[in-house]
């Protein structure tokens, strides 16, 4: 039901609405969002959509090419692998695993990182104490090393690789949150609230957090793309998901030997990772541009 | 002969499909050796005129003018190289906030040195030219009142106090030996002592080197002491323009009168503890510009005719645009 709006100037969108409007204005960002949404939907609905079970081995149709090749067939849309398993179903399930684990990793890392960063930022302000610098330089240890260490201690597996990547992502959230909170604490509106008698907890949840949400969303998308890449990298190095669970990087690794014979085995999982990360990056970029445009106006 | 001659300059900003007239038929002219003040409240578009002259208007804004010339040359469709040349040699602009107008990663001395146009540097070999540049910089720094030139030249912009920064900006403007200095509110936010020093400096420059000055500000007190002529700008429209002493003694436009009335030291006959007269309301925002004379909603003398933009009328060289100017009362 369209509202009759006689006075155009009366429409004052809230900051979130402004960001969304600016985001919508970029066609590429919207397209990225659509792609991301469709991949996520397909992946989440994998148990419903997949035509075959990802583990079902059919020795009659080993290394069948995808449907667009003359020797392919419609029952196995994207062909089969060396053990006769349907690649399309495996891809769906693998995308599901990768996507869900990445989201969980980012959410956990964000929660822990923001908590630590907020406490650090509020208790001491932005101090360039040695401890802060220490944390920052320890932040420089690559994901892979942390993953190797954790796998060595606790053995390989999906959950352990998730812990590894969570540990690797936490320092980033701590760093950005601490900086942001430190900067905001210096501002006058916080001082006004403090003079009004708010406790630190109220300060954080009612004054700082709403402003921080935007930064968190942007950092979150960045972290998500890194998480997807890292989880698939760990899967590729056989440090991550074990069979029978499927994961995109692991799918790729298991088919390297037959890469020349049946390139679709390696190309398709990689393409899937690529599209996933690309759409996340495009959406993240679009968000950042939208926020920038809103702040400029 | 007018150095800078602007007639009917209109600047339109695109906003949600339509254009907003930020500047509406502005007239301004500066003659050689003249100190002209451009007065208006914040938001009246003074800085926009400066940007239009220097050519730093974003491309999607629309500029039209009957005439916008520098020394006879039209500034509107100038080639890039010619514009660079003019800006380098003839016109110098001093901006509001010295800290943000200076590159934070380059020393002050270097920044002054690079503003010297090559024709003023003597010497053939580059070491001679460097030495000559350095000499000129030191001389100019002394002229603007900075004695400790060594410290200043080695320092970075954020290491120097505000007024030193402003003097450095002036020095940068001076080394090019310009014909006109456009000062965009250079004394904003300064204490009175520093303000007077800068203003004295500008006046001295005008008298000794006959450099024309276009002083853009809203500080009437500062201006009234040094300006020869004044142009009053309200919300993108020129309302009055003429010799300073005429405007002070006998303003013709209600807005000018309100401005002059609001500065107590201009009036000698104020009884103690009396209310200071002023115009109610505030300057309209760009999204809600009134049609016709933009002072209309606030003007105490406004009547139905003010819905149309008043034309420009003049008495000798005192121009005004008002349907109901003040001198009509005297009849």
């Amino acid at each position: 039901m369209p509202r009759l709006n006689l006075y155009q100037e009366e429409f004052h969108p809230s900051p979130w609405q402004q960001t969304w409007l600016a985001f919508k204005a970029s066609h590429i960002a919207l397209a990225g969002l659509m792609v991301l949404a469709s991949i996520s939907l397909l992946a989440l609905l994998a148990p419903v959509i997949a035509p075959h079970s990802p583990l079902l081995q059919n020795p009659d149709v080993l290394l069948l090419p995808p449907v667009w090749d003359p020797s392919g067939s419609l029952t196995y849309l994207l062909g089969t692998d060396a053990l006769g398993r349907d690649i399309f179903s495996r891809l769906l399930y693998a995308a599901r695993t990768t996507l869900i684990t990445s989201v969980i990793v980012v959410v956990v890392a964000m929660l822990i990182g923001v908590t630590i960063g907020a406490i650090a930022g509020m208790l001491r302000g932005v101090s360039s104490s040695v401890v802060n610098h220490l944390l920052d330089s320890l932040m420089a240890i690559p994901t892979l090393l942390i993953a190797i260490v954790i796998v060595a201690i606790m053995g390989s597996g999906l959950v352990n690789s998730m812990w590894a990547i969570t540990l690797a992502l936490i320092p980033q959230f701590v760093h950005y949150t601490r900086n942001y909170v430190g900067e905001e604490m210096k501002k006058d509106y916080i001082r006004a609230s403090q003079l009004d008698g708010s406790t630190k907890r109220q300060l954080f949840f009612y004054s700082i957090l709403p402003n921080m949400l935007e930064m968190l969303v942007v950092q979150g998308t960045l972290a998500l793309s890194i998480a997807v890449l890292d989880i698939s990298a760990l899967g590729f190095l056989n440090l991550g998901a074990h069979p029978p669970s499927v994961e995109l990087g692991a799918l790729l690794a298991s088919s390297i030997d037959i890469a020349y014979l049946a390139p679709w085995n390696v190309m398709l999982p990689g393409l899937c990772i690529f599209f996933l990360v690309l759409s996340i990056n495009i959406v993240g970029d679009g968000l950042r541009s939208a926020i920038r445009k809103r702040v400029k106006n | 002969m007018a150095l800078l001659d602007i007639k009917n300059l209109t600047l339109e900003i695109p906003h949600e499909g339509d254009y907003i007239r930020a500047l509406d038929k502005v007239n301004l002219s500066v003659n050689e050796g003249e100190v002209r003040a451009l007065v208006g409240e914040s938001g009246s578009g003074k800085s926009l005129i400066v940007s239009a002259v220097s050519g730093s208007i974003p491309k999607h804004w629309r500029i039209t003018a009957d005439r916008m010339t520098w020394n006879g040359e039209s500034l509107l469709n100038l080639s890039k190289s010619r514009r660079l040349q003019i800006m380098n040699e003839d016109i110098a602009i001093v901006f509001q906030n010295p800290l943000s107008s200076l590159d934070p990663s380059v020393t002050l001395g270097e920044q002054i040195q690079e503003s010297i146009p090559s024709r003023l540097v003597d010497g053939k070999w580059f070491w001679q030219r460097n030495a000559s540049r350095r000499q000129t910089t030191i001389k100019t720094l002394h002229k603007v009142g900075i004695r400790a030139h060594g410290d200043v030249m080695r320092a970075y912009p954020h290491e120097m106090p505000y007024d030193v920064g402003q003097r450095v900006m002036l020095a940068m403007a001076l080394v090019a030996q310009p014909k006109i200095i456009i000062a965009d509110d250079p004394t904003r936010g300064m204490e009175t002592t520093t303000k007077t020093q800068i203003l004295k400096l500008l006046t001295r420059l005008n008298k000794t080197r006959s450099v024309a000055i276009l002083f853009v500000s809203h500080d009437l007190l500062a201006i009234s002491s040094m300006a020869d002529t004044m142009t009053v700008l309200y919300c993108g429209q020129t309302v009055e323009s003429g010799k300073m002493k005429h405007l002070r003694k006998r303003p013709l436009h209600p807005y000018t009168k309100a401005l002059i009335d609001s500065a107590p030291s201009f009036r000698n006959d104020l009884p103690p503890k009396s209310m200071l007269p002023n115009l109610g309301g505030s300057i309209p925002t760009l999204q809600h510009l009134p049609i016709g004379c933009r002072l209309g909603p606030r003007c105490p003398r406004a009547q139905k005719a003010c819905v149309n933009v008043p034309g420009i009328r003049h008495i000798h060289d005192h121009t005004y645009s008002c349907h109901y100017p003040l001198h009509r009362d005297k009849r």
């Binding site: 994901t143 990689g270 | 220097s54 040699e89």
Partner: protein
């Protein structure tokens, strides 16, 4: 100035100390016998066990053990690898230069390609050229490095047969290892056909370096572009233009410096990503570097190797980041202590 050096020196020492403590902790956390994890040798009889136990101070208090551990590490006595039995110091000495070489060349290529293209995109922002560059950059940036490497192998090695598949140099060339950096070693050796050897080595380097540098280069392009666009909006650029300075002057003297300075800290994070990608690429191309070695160690459960390898790589990366930090401090005039400023 002296104070900053002192601070950074302390920071460096402290970080190293925490890394060493972490690796000490790891020796206890890894599954298996503590002594084997520390020394790398599964003692065959009681006498050997006693010897090793005294050396590594296993039977004494934790603090003494830690102290002994530190002194052993810093004197180069790193134990032996559980799976191969070779001393760890030699193993790492052999494999680390290969990784450094790969990462270094990738970094150089990434900077040489990324910085100019990023600046170009920033200068011509919002034009078709800029959109193309941005699109290519974001595509490159989203590529998983192992997939890119695999694609390269499939196309350049297997299909077109242009470039070799693995290793650092063809086995036909016998180059004695002096420094471990193959290009330098070729130049230092008395081989007869140095030119051929170098060409061969470069051919082996091409694909791994290209895979890593394309991704890091794309990241640099995006960083630089954003930085340049931000700088171009600043008032002092408008003021420089109004003083009539020429465009190239403005760019090289003002824009470039101010664009590079704020992203120096971000470059440090890029170094991390670059090294991670380099390690992944090593497995693909059988590049005998420390990443490949570490991963083999994990598959074989070689805990000593993992511990020492992690310590060395982490120490290297952390030193690099601190170095970039110091560089940032030195070069950036805005970070200098204000001397005479009044507000």
């Amino acid at each position: 100035m002296m104070i900053s050096f002192f601070r950074y020196g302390t920071l460096f020492v402290l970080t190293l100390f925490s890394l060493v403590s972490l690796s000490f902790l790891l020796a206890h956390l890894f599954p298996g016998d503590l002594l084997t994890n520390l020394s790398g040798v599964a003692p065959k009889d009681e006498k050997e066990r006693q010897l090793l136990a005294t050396l590594w101070a296993v039977d004494q208090s934790v603090f003494f053990r830690f102290f002994r551990y530190c002194s052993l590490i810093f004197s180069g006595e790193w134990g032996v690898s559980i799976s191969s039995g070779l001393p760890l110091y030699d193993e790492i000495r052999r494999t680390l230069p290969a990784t450094i070489e790969l990462s270094f060349y990738s970094a150089v290529v990434a900077v040489v390609i990324g910085v100019p293209i990023g600046c170009l995109a920033g200068l011509k922002s919002y034009t078709k050229l800029d959109y193309t560059i941005n699109a290519v950059a974001i595509v490159n940036y989203s590529l998983p490095v192992f997939w890119l490497g695999l694609a390269f192998i499939l196309v350049f090695s297997l299909q077109l047969n242009w470039l070799p598949l693995s290793g650092r140099i063809s086995l036909l060339f016998d180059i004695p290892t002096v420094t471990g950096f193959i290009l330098i070693d070729i130049l230092l050796s008395n081989s007869l056909n140095k030119g051929e050897a170098i060409a061969n080595a470069i051919a082996h380097l091409a694909m791994p370096v290209l895979a890593v540098s394309l991704i890091s280069g794309a990241a640099l392009v995006r960083l630089l572009r954003r930085s340049v666009i931000d700088i171009l909006d600043k008032p002092y650029i408008a003021s420089a233009r109004s003083r009539g300075l020429s465009s190239s002057r403005i760019f090289f003297d003002h824009v470039l410096r101010n664009a590079l300075l704020p992203i120096l800290p971000l470059l440090a994070i890029q170094i991390t990503t670059l090294m991670t990608n380099a390690i992944i690429v090593e497995t693909l191309f059988s590049w005998p570097g420390i990443g490949d070695w570490l991963l083999q160690a994990i598959y074989q459960g070689d805990y000593t190797a993992i511990r020492m390898g992690m310590l060395v790589v982490a120490a290297l990366i952390v030193s690099l980041t601190i170095f970039v930090d110091i560089l940032n401090r030195l070069v950036d005039p805005r970070k200098r202590m204000p001397t005479n400023a009044t507000t």
